[in-house]
Symmetry: C2
Subunit: 230 residues, 2 copies
DNA sequence: ATTACTAGCTGTCGAGTAA
DNA sequence: TTTACTCGACAGCTAGTAA
């Protein structure tokens, strides 16, 4: 996982992403790609081979070119580099991001985690509130899913993992946010992003000092907005 | 200006930025830097030499190491790459950025530009309003200056340059924004970022369909907030 | 037109050395 | 300790060729 990819490889991978090989496969030929990365056709072709061999892209060869799409692993590498740029340029505290989604019922694990003392104390120190047991889960609308990816490349507030006698608890990060209730100020809460859990990407977990379902009289399917502030 | 820097060079430059060589010089030795870029001391040292030779960093050698700081040109290259990542990951329309600053009197050129027909028509089509002649200039507070840099790496709405018989008019980009007046909805306006003009970095130029100074009864020194939405 | 070899060259890397 | 050479080894690039 921690293989060091050369700068030139990263460059090629990034250019592929810019050519649109992110959501769905994009068609290109080595000569086309050679122009994009300003090198010879041979090098362009070989780069594509290597990126495939290393598992960063999927490739389908046709008679007149090839179809390329980044793999999950390829996207991860890109995100890591993007994260570094966030560190360099976005140290400011002023960016806001809004999520829209519908309340859904989670798996109930949220309650387990928010009551673990090791997590609870970190939330108190780093967020300034004691989380109400349980999380509010949102199913995000399509636009917010893209916004959700941005949190992957933002720093956020680190929550450390730990070990108990029985098992290990993963770390993650969180982002202070406000749950917007019509007109008023918003309820200070936080979005939780577990580091390793590959939770479905369209679900957002929120912790709050209060029982949001009761406080805002929410039921499943109600739409709410969460404003993340960094 | 359009020299192609190798991916490995960009990698080194980025690591230097992450080590803090952005605002002020940072002290490091080749062996320290070698660890950061996971290569030999020789390569690390040579990279630093080359980055200096190409004009991407300033270097001051001391007996026990060296002091490094990125040059303007180095930062430009980094920004360009950062911009590409914005293109890949931040295609969503939901990020907001807030600027705080005090009203100042500009040089009066704003009025000249906003009344040029070639610009005016672009604003009408791309922003949906006819700009009031003249710009509102803000002197940004220190935090907002950092936020201002973010606009450099965001895409925005392109404004094309053009030529008249007498001179050429540069292009630029703009960002729709709301000028926040206490409580209410905010006045739909736009921040203007000229492409080439090296305007002082702590000044933000705003155009609006209305005469903001009159509408909000502003005088020099009054603090206002502008919310940019992408 | 493609992609994918092979061959040869160029340039980059890192050990060793000097200052 | 440093930085900055030299030089041998090798990895990556491009031209040419095949399929």
């Amino acid at each position: 996982m921690k293989i060091k990819m050369s700068g030139d490889m990263m460059f090629s991978l990034r250019k592929l992403a810019l050519l649109g090989a992110v959501e769905q496969p994009v068609k290109l030929s080595s000569v086309h790609f050679a122009e994009a990365i300003k090198s010879s056709v041979q090098t362009a072709g070989r780069r594509l081979q290597e990126l495939e061999r290393e598992g960063f892209v999927h490739r389908r060869i046709t008679a007149d070119g090839q179809w390329i799409i980044l793999t999950k692993s390829g996207m991860e590498h890109l995100k890591e580099e993007c994260y570094e740029y966030q560190e360099i340029f976005f140290t400011t505290q002023t960016v806001e991001l809004e999520f829209v989604g519908c309340v859904i019922t989670g798996l109930g694990e949220g309650e387990y985690y928010t009551t673990r003392d090791e997590y609870k104390r970190q939330f108190e120190v780093k967020l300034g509130f004691t989380p109400f047991p349980g999380t509010l889960n949102l199913r995000l609308d399509s636009q917010s899913i893209a916004a959700r990816e941005i949190l992957d490349v933002w720093k956020g507030i680190e929550i450390a993992g730990f070990e108990s006698e029985k098992r290990t608890f993963g770390g993650g990060k969180c982002f202070p946010c406000k749950i917007m209730n019509d007109g008023a100020e918003g309820i200070k809460s936080a979005v939780i992003i577990p580091a390793r859990t590959h939770y479905p990407e369209d679900v957002l977990e929120i912790i709050s000092p209060v029982y949001l379902r009761c406080e805002l009289q929410l039921k499943d399917g109600d739409e709410i907005r969460a404003r993340v502030m960094t």
